[in-house]
């Protein structure tokens, strides 16, 4: 992650970290064919901060699943960091997820009754790092999201914002090429949402590529590029010339102490 000086270094042969060509996804719902994606082509460079928007049923979630290597396209190609992942097996996709992707979900998706550090270590368990290495990296990731003092807390001892930060630390621990965030602020109040967006902005400043799915225009304002889906196609794709800065927004919000459950 040395992209601070050069925010758009070439990754693939044509400089794209993500290169998607005529991607289509068709589900069978019983006898009915559902065309979730109908030919999507898009490229993302390293260091971008993209917000993907669209109404429900627009295909953005399907797109996100394919982007996250959780699902395979029916047609088209998806090249991630120079690797064609469109036709990999289940296990190969798992390996790609482990090495190149970090996920942040709406519902945090932390393992309950498992401490913050163990949650963050989880992706490393499926790699081949030693126990000492795992601990070091997990602590480093928790420090990056400002939770260095809550390493051994359990999810039920943390507020929603803190839980989401643990999830972000988990997404970061493997030094992924991309952090994928699916409605990361959906379960958070507005102040905490801005704080979480602030963390994404900080990470993006450090050169990490962030792709965010949201249906809230306010949240999308923190991203540098907006891609809007409708009916399985990209309706618009434009740069956000003046993204809001979370650090500034937060100063304008009324000060509320973050709720800390006992």
């Amino acid at each position: 992650m040395t992209g601070v000086q050069n925010p758009y270094p070439p990754a693939g042969s044509d400089g794209l970290l993500i290169k998607i060509d005529h991607l289509a996804k068709t589900y069978m719902l019983g006898e009915v064919e559902v065309h979730a994606l109908r030919g999507v082509s898009v490229g993302v460079r390293k260091g971008e901060f993209v917000a993907i928007m669209g109404a429900s049923g627009s295909g953005k979630s399907t797109f996100m699943n394919i982007l996250g290597c959780l699902d395979k396209p029916t047609k088209g190609t998806y090249i991630l960091d120079g690797i064609d992942v469109s036709h990999l097996t289940r296990d190969e996709l798992a390996r790609i997820r482990n090495h190149k992707l970090g996920f942040v979900f709406q519902g945090f998706n932390l393992l309950s009754r498992t401490s913050a550090i163990e949650n963050v270590e989880l992706p490393l368990l499926y790699g081949d790092s030693s126990m000492k290495d795992r601990e070091e990296r997990a602590v480093r990731a928790l420090n990056m999201v400002g939770l260095g003092d809550r390493v051994h807390h359990y999810p039920n001892q943390l507020s929603g914002g803190q839980q989401q930060r643990v999830a972000i630390a988990r997404a970061l621990v493997n030094d992924p090429s991309i952090v994928l965030a699916d409605e990361p602020t959906g379960n958070l109040d507005s102040r905490t949402s801005v704080e979480v967006m602030g963390i994404f902005q900080e990470l993006n400043e450090k050169g990490i590529t962030v792709i965010l799915v949201t249906h809230e225009p306010d949240i999308a304002q923190f991203a540098k590029r907006h891609i809007i889906f409708r009916d399985g196609r990209i309706k618009s794709d434009r740069l956000n010339s003046a993204p809001k800065l979370a650090a500034e927004v937060i100063d304008e919000l009324p000060a509320v102490d973050e709720e800390e459950p006992a």
Partner: protein, 405 residues
């Protein structure tokens, strides 16, 4: 994922649901403990039966007269009158594999001593009888060859008879009347207890076979000949030699059946051992059913666990767990459950068998084999009943698993 990591996370997962894990294990614990205890009881029974049989004397052969066949009417075992004293002398002289020999005859009757009386069997024996049967004298002496030659009016009492007739004093030197024949008691036998069939071996009076023959039964032939082989491995040799000799002496043409039967203790022992073995297998198979039920319990809980932890599986898959990793994780959890249950069950079974031994005075034997068997069984159950739920977990679609509510 490394095996150690999987083991650690399996323990953690089971720890999170301590009560449930324990109850699941309980099925295996009870099953394994039952198998161990049942095998211990069965093998204990087998051992005590073997002990009793070897207490009869191990190299013993018994020659019985055969069935009498008169014009096609067969009289059953012991009805021929073919075994004679001369047969005994011939066997002793011409069969080198035969060690000791005791002719035998039998009478029943009332025995009277003073104002007491007792009905029992009177065994007419030779002087070597006690040595062949590995029996001993508690008080007094046994009768001698001279007594046998003279058909002396002497007898030796079994403990049961001695207690029945002489509850207060020593019978040695006293006179008892056996069917109105007064006999001097020269000794009392040591206690031998029950035989394999549950008969009281001490409820007997021994007397010289000549005395029984000439003074009690007037039956000129022998009821049996008790023979000991020179060594246990010589039993078949002795049997062959006796068969050949007796066929020749009784002038039995070739292809005609023997007019006598030779039984040895090994046959008896084998029959009794087979019976107790069946008992052991029966007990163990009943106990195995509970082990099977325990295994189904594990499958049940693992299935619930997979459903309940669908989201966890989704999370693990999203961060890079392969199907194989998930499969291994749940399989190891099932295996840890069944193994911990198995080990606890072994401890419980072993101590339970010990308790049965000391409380019920029932012999129990725990063999390495039965421990190994239950241990192997619980591993097999863990793998067998854990596989289906684990596979179900591994086959989940990560997207569906993540969305599962």
């Amino acid at each position: 994922m490394k095996l150690l990591n999987i083991l650690i996370s399996a323990f953690r997962a089971l720890q999170r649901n301590k009560m449930r894990s324990f109850l699941t294990m309980l099925g295996i614990i009870i099953g394994v403990a039952a198998v161990i205890a049942m095998l211990a009881i069965g093998q204990g029974a087998q051992y005590s039966v073997e002990q009793q049989i070897s207490s009869l004397g191990t190299n013993v052969l018994i020659v019985f007269p055969g069935s009498q066949n008169t014009g096609g009417i067969r009289g059953g075992a012991g009805t021929t009158t073919t075994l004679t004293e001369d047969d005994c002398i011939a066997i002793q002289r011409e069969c080198p594999a035969v060690g000791l020999l005791s002719p035998g005859t039998r009478a029943g009757g009332q025995i009277i001593a003073g104002n007491m009386n007792w009905a029992t069997g009177i065994e007419g024996t030779g002087a070597d009888y006690l040595e062949i049967r590995k029996w001993g004298i508690e008080y007094g002496d046994f009768y001698t060859d001279a007594d046998i030659k003279a058909a002396a009016k002497v007898c030796v009492l079994g403990q049961t008879v001695a207690n029945a007739l002489f509850p207060d004093g020593s019978p040695v030197g006293q006179t008892v009347r056996i069917r109105n024949v007064p006999c001097k008691v020269v000794g009392v036998l040591t206690k031998k207890g029950q035989n394999a069939m549950g008969q009281d071996q001490d409820d007997v009076v021994l007397a010289p076979w000549t005395t029984v023959k000439r003074r009690l039964t007037w039956f000129p032939y022998l009821r049996q000949i008790l023979v000991s082989a020179t060594s246990p491995s010589n039993i078949p040799v002795a049997q062959a030699q006796i068969t050949e000799l007796l066929r020749m002496r009784h002038k039995i043409p070739p292809y005609e059946p023997d007019d006598f039967t030779i039984r040895n203790q090994a046959d008896l022992a084998n029959a009794a051992t087979a019976t107790t073995q069946i008992l052991t297998i029966l007990l163990a198979s009943i106990a195995s059913v509970s082990l099977l039920v325990g295994g189904i319990g594990i499958m049940n809980i693992m299935l619930v666990s997979v459903t309940e932890r669908t989201r966890e599986i989704g999370i693990r898959m999203s961060v890079g767990a392969r199907s194989r990793d998930i499969l291994t994780q749940f399989l190891i959890e099932a295996l840890v459950l069944s193994l911990l249950g198995g080990i606890t069950g072994i401890i419980l079974g072993v101590s339970g068998s010990g308790a049965i031994s000391s409380l019920a005075k029932w012999p129990t034997i725990i063999t390495f084999f039965s421990i190994l068997l239950s241990f192997g069984f619980s591993i097999a159950i863990g793998i067998f009943f854990g596989f289906y739920p684990a596979r179900k977990a591994a086959m989940l679609n990560p997207i569906d698993a993540l969305r599962y509510e």
